[in-house]
């Protein structure tokens, strides 16, 4: 008989093999978690030439290039190295082999998930020599937490133990090489923790701080720059010793913050900086319907744009109105010296600065006690989550002490971020002179209570400012657009035939034709902007025998090529949307799909997803059906071509008839939509004329033209989206991907209402979208045709932005789309460039029984997670394209100004805001906003939105003429649009 023995782990080993800990859930429950671990003796050390271990990718003697370790060495970094010096480790110049302990990995994961992901990527990088050593699983290096030992101490001890083991292990190996008297390589513990270093040295181990280590490296000047600001304490110990002035209140601990937020006495939200005034910011919180205002440096308490912060709201009698003044960080802080303010030691200077800033804050205190404008005011007491990333900056030339380009001395300089929402960052670099005039990437490391500015370090240079490449890349980085080329795994998901892929001939057995309708015979055409390559929609219409009209919208069948949970799908989900810059398109899907296989080009057969309606002649829906289909578009028109064709009475062919039919229906649909209360909103859109495709130098800017055919396409897309939304919501009430536009809170309009009433005598009724649409129609000034558009633009800014959501996550009464006055809406019509549409396609496909729904789309949590990313990407993509247009408008202006003899461009503009010392203007022809500032305060009437400049009264909505010049800031070398008034008065020199 076979003897069966059960190997039970004896309970006496429990102390070593079981790790128990508690976990507190968000709901306040406490769980006990038990982890079992199995210790082994065969966890490999990873060093080549080791007689005991297998699997040895690290070079035998480590790295011999370091001056202190001629016999070679391996790095064994502590957790804090990865937490603070990740940029250094990631640098291609940083080459020594690294032994990464499991303890360290886990600690990094515990402390920061983004850093953990970077660390994981690091271990997979080919040019890095990283070995992950599972020290907690090797019997010699596993440790148990002792009584009264903090988790931190335990981990430190574990790291030291592993270092010790490695040192012995390596020594063992070299001693076994007989006859050769070779020294064994050093295992170097790299840690920023002095106590840990001290303890390690006591055990006879080598330990160094990162700075000390890097100083001995070959490429130390470049690498030292990548060092986070943390280490600066060591270099100038005397500076630290002189008691630093505390400039900001300390933060409260996280536990207290969470408790305070829970109890309702504190409020949590995202910090938004004010772009006009660097001493002001606000935080939108759920508890108040208006954002909480933060005035002054102390109250903003080191928050940076986008941080999740906790605010305390002051008593109501201390509430204030936002400042009515433009305060520019650069001009105010021009004299602040980077070296000096580092220690904040120069009390006099720092005092002066404080006074100056205090004055700025105070000015408005006296003037503005208007009750209407008073907002809940508060101060930041803590930060829940920093949202710091790498920022695109310029080095301020005045902060340099030596501009000698050969100087490699370390300098403390200021970097001014391109975004006006961010504070200037102080960094130490040896390359300052070479970095002047460049766009550089800077990461913030920390912001202490004793330091006026955040401290950061240099990551990399992007290139000379104002070169197109540098500007483009900085734009993409600034808006976090993923722009790397698609990887191999993603490209492998494409059909193997590549460009040669065609719809196979129709046969019984063909996979592609299964359950697809053959619509090749229909007169389908597409209408798009000129130069459009990713055609994702096409249309057709024909009269049915019963007098009704059949109209069809055919959308590229992207879900046929992009299958759920493939690398391509994951990448598309992460990108969320295609980003359109003036001269570049960052695709969501590989170009093969976007511009070829999915693009509904004319004269070729393409797979499509069709929505086909039977409409009554009055454009009421009689019936709708959805089907996968094969189409062959008969023509690809531009809006203009389609318009001309439609208007040409000589053309009577089927295609033209079909366009006319669509157009009549679209007009009726639009009329219905408007009657239901849809808004006709406006946003400034301009078109950039590029010189030629190659040089892409902008020649000029003009406003986009709207034709009847634009509206034609738009109406049918809306119809398709609404119909699809209804269908998928009906079939998947819990997880349907929908889009909604929440009605804006009335308070958002207060200012605009007051403005219109006081300046123009118009009443804006905002009680519903329909009423608002009507009252917007009435805001017409016969003298100023552009006035109505301006009001619409301003009204649009008062509204919330539309968002994708999962139907199961919110109440059904909040599904509505305010702007379109539709009770339900989704995005279905552009799957090539928007990921939400891909999801809608999959859901619709499952809803009509064409394909089963992927399990992930049944999970509410999953859909929510994806849509959150898509919403964010969508927002950032819009901002990126706007910024790109702005950049090109700037270039075009410069070009135009140069042609005109260097005097700049004069344009008509509207005043949209008045400040104490300036006016905000909007140039509708160029679609840009600008600021005209005056050197001193003017007579300013905040009640009536007017100001008096040299006897001339200027008020909001006035038409003025401005001169627009593009000038380069001498200090930061940042291109800047400068505007001065030309009419009614010339403000040059004012």
């Amino acid at each position: 008989m076979v003897e069966i023995t059960v190997l039970k782990r004896s309970r006496t080993e429990a102390a070593l093999t079981q790790r128990k800990f508690f976990k507190k859930t968000a709901k306040g429950k406490v769980f006990k978690v038990l982890r079992e671990r199995y210790l082994r003796d065969d966890v490999s050390c990873g060093i080549d030439g080791c007689k005991i271990c297998h699997d040895t990718p690290l070079p035998s003697y480590g790295d011999k290039n370091h001056s202190s370790f001629p016999d070679g060495h391996f790095l064994l970094p502590d957790t804090n190295v990865f937490l603070s010096q990740m940029d250094l480790i990631e640098s291609p110049l940083f080459g020594p082999p690294i032994i990464l302990l499991q303890t360290v990995m886990e600690e990094v994961r515990h402390r920061s998930l983004p850093l953990y992901n970077r660390l994981k990527a690091l271990t997979r990088m080919e040019d890095k020599k990283v070995w992950v050593f599972y020290n907690e699983f090797r019997s010699e290096t596993a440790i148990v937490r002792e009584e009264d030992e903090t988790p931190n101490d335990r981990n430190d001890r574990g790291i030291r133990k592993a270092t010790q083991w490695y040192a012995q292990h390596v020594a063992l190996r070299s001693s076994s090489i007989r006859g050769q008297d070779q020294n064994s390589p050093t295992i170097l513990l790299l840690t920023e923790d002095a106590a840990n270093r001290f303890k390690a040295e006591k055990l006879g181990l080598s330990a160094l701080s990162v700075r000390k280590y890097v100083e001995g490296m070959k490429d130390s000047p470049q690498l030292l720059d990548l060092l986070a600001a943390e280490g600066s304490d060591e270099i100038e110990p005397t500076r630290v010793a002189t008691g630093r002035q505390v400039l900001y209140p300390e933060y409260l601990s996280t536990g207290i913050l969470v408790a305070g937020v829970k109890a309702g006495s504190l409020h949590q939200g995202h910090f938004n900086a004010n772009q006009y005034n660097y001493l002001e910011g606000n935080v939108s919180v759920p508890g108040f319907n208006k954002p909480i205002l933060l005035i002054g440096r102390e109250n903003m308490n080191r928050a940076v744009q986008g941080d999740v912060v906790v605010v305390e709201v002051f008593d109501e009698k201390e509430w204030k109105a936002p400042a009515d003044e433009v305060v520019d960080q650069e001009s105010t802080l021009k004299d602040d010296d980077a070296e000096e303010s580092e220690g904040e030691g120069d009390a006099e200077k720092s005092g002066q600065l404080r006074e100056k800033e205090a004055k700025m804050v105070k000015v408005e205190k006296i003037a503005s006690l208007r009750s209407l404008e008073r907002l809940p005011t508060g101060r930041i007491v803590g930060v829940i989550k920093r949202n710091w990333r790498a920022y695109v900056c310029h080095i301020e030339s005045t902060s340099l002490t030596s501009s000698n380009s050969t100087s490699l001395s370390i300098q403390t300089v200021f970097a001014t971020p391109v975004s006006r929402l961010l504070p200037r960052i102080r960094l130490r670099t040896r390359q300052a002179p070479t970095l002047l005039n460049q766009k550089i990437l800077v990461t913030i490391d920390r912001w202490d209570a004793t330091s006026r500015y955040p401290e950061g370090h240099f990551v990399r240079a992007l290139g000379r400012a104002e070169t197109k490449e540098a500007e483009q890349e900085s734009l993409l980085l600034e808006f976090e657009v993923p722009y790397r080329p698609f990887g191999k795994a993603i490209l492998d998901c494409l059909p193997q035939q590549g460009e040669q892929w065609v719809v196979p001939p129709k046969t019984e057995s063909s996979k592609e034709w299964k359950d697809r309708e053959d619509l090749r015979g229909l007169n389908i055409c597409s209408i798009d902007p000129p130069g459009c390559q990713d055609i994702d929609d096409a249309l057709h219409a024909r009269v049915l025998p019963n007098g009704n009209v059949e109209a069809g919208v055919h959308i590229a069948d992207v879900s046929h090529f992009v299958h759920p949970d493939t690398p391509m799908d994951n990448e598309a989900a992460a990108r969320g949307t295609t980003v359109y810059l003036v001269d570049k398109r960052i695709d969501m899907l590989p170009a093969l799909l976007g511009t070829n296989l999915c693009s509904l080009r004319p004269f070729v057969e393409r797979l499509a997803f069709s929505a086909i309606w039977e409409l009554s002649p009055e454009a009421d829906i009689v019936n709708v059906r959805f089907t996968k289909s094969v189409i062959a578009s008969k023509a690809a028109f531009t809006y203009e071509e389609a318009q001309i064709r439609k208007d040409d009475p000589h053309l009577q062919d089927d295609l033209t008839q079909s366009i006319r039919l669509l157009n009549t229906l679209a007009q009726k649909l639009k009329a219905k939509r408007m009657a239901a209360g849809a808004l006709n909103l406006a946003s400034p859109e301009v078109k950039i004329h590029l010189d030629s495709a190659e040089s892409s130098d902008p020649i000029d800017v003009e406003q986009k033209e709207m034709r009847e055919t634009n509206s034609l396409v738009e109406e049918f897309m809306l119809l398709a989206n609404i119909s699809v939304a209804r269908k998928i919501e009906e079939v998947f009430p819990q997880t349907a991907v929908l889009r909604r536009h929440m009605p804006p809170p009335k308070t958002n309009f207060e200012k605009l209402q007051d403005l219109l009433e006081k300046r123009k005598g118009f009443k804006l009724d905002v009680s519903s979208s329909g009423v608002l649409a009507k009252s917007l129609d009435l805001c017409v000034d016969p003298d100023l045709p552009a006035f109505n558009t301006l009001v619409r633009i301003m009204a649009t800014r008062c509204m919330l932005s539309a968002e994708y959501f999962c139907s199961g996550s919110v109440g059904k009464n909040t599904f509505g789309h305010y702007g379109l006055a539709s009770s339900i809406y989704t995005h279905f019509t552009s799957p090539i460039r928007r990921y939400a549409d891909v999801l809608a396609h999959r859901q619709l496909s499952a809803a009509i029984g064409y394909s089963p729904l992927h399990p992930s789309l049944h999970s509410k949590a999953h859909v929510e997670r994806i849509l959150e990313v898509v919403n964010k990407r969508h927002r950032l993509a819009q901002m990126a394209s706007r910024a790109s247009v702005e950049f090109y408008v700037g270039l075009a202006l410069k070009a135009r100004g140069e042609r005109g003899g260097g005097t700049g461009v004069t344009e008509e503009a509207f005043v949209i805001r008045t400040f104490r010392n300036g006016i905000g203007i909007f140039v509708s022809k160029l679609g840009i906003e600008g600021l005209v500032t005056f050197k001193k305060d003017m007579l300013f009437d905040a009640e009536n939105y007017t100001m008096t400049v040299a006897g001339m009264v200027i008020s909001v909505f006035d038409k003025v003429v401005v001169r627009i010049e593009v000038e380069k800031d001498r200090n930061t070398h940042r291109g800047k649009v400068k505007m001065t008034l030309v009419s009614p008065i010339d403000s040059k020199g004012m």
């Binding site: 309970r11 429990a14 128990k20 800990f21 937490r145 009584e147 988790p151 408790a259 008593d315």
Partner: protein
Amino acid sequence: MASISKAEKSYIQAGLLADPPSRADGRSKNVFRTISLETGVAPLANGSARLSIGRNPHDGSGGTEVLAATKLEVEDIGPGSQGLDSGRIECTVSCSPAAYPFLSSNALDELQYDYTTIMSSTLTHPSLRPSNISILQGKKSWLLHLDVVVLTDSGNAFDAMFMAARAALCDTKVPRTRAVEYRASDSKLKGKTSSGGIMGAVLDASSSKDMDVDVDVMESSSFNTRVHSKATDFELPDYWDEGEILDGKGRWPICITLNIVSATHFLDATTPEEASVSSRLLLMFSFPSDSSTSKSQLYGMRTLGSGEFSVSQLSDLLKEGESYAKEVWKALNSQLDEETALKLKEMKRF
């Protein structure tokens, strides 16, 4: 219980009444079978113990075997909840069907219910409530579940259950919690926006000592242990720490069962013996160590069966029961101490 024939019954009774009394396993009347105890057997519980009486040391067969475990759960206090500021204990006994193969499932349920009632009425009494299972006044507290499982029963289940429960409760560790609260101090309204305006307080809920900290209200102090009512949430300061020992180690009572046959009684009855006695008296005693005068505390008393006792008989039984209980108490405590010492040693080994 298990039914035995009349002849068998009278044989056992006669044996017990004989002089010297004789029992089937050769024990004298007041001697227990071997008791073995192990604590910390359930790693996911907050405290646990496994106890057996009379198990064959060689093959592990026979005997009465009981498993007890405690589990702490956070409970909200407020309307609609049974939670108490001081925390509370809930006790449940379940019996493995294998322990009573001859009982129908209904009968088993009833038996479990009887056991639960007796255990629960004794151990959840307010006088035994530990002082350290409160978390936040008026908001949250610990609910301590004590679950006892009878794995096999060959007599004297009550004594075994109480001993196991005591061992499990002594093994229980309560995770340390720290109350967190945020409150703005009164001075805030005076327009003071610098560092002094805000106070965050961290209260140590598990410390009963009233620390007297000088609180400088105007500037930067952030500790105030006086105010308890405002805290709304708590945190675990150390996730890896098992916590502090549950209070009441000296109090958790044990049970001694006196099996009464005519004028005499005996301890630790086996199943047939239990079936042949007419009445049993359960006494729940504890001997708190702080009252070193060896003063005992009686936490419960219960009679089972049809027999009757006179008052004088009862007081004699009480007295004798107390002395037996003390023996058991001492033995159990020394075993518990040994277990603790053993665990410490294991820790040190690594």
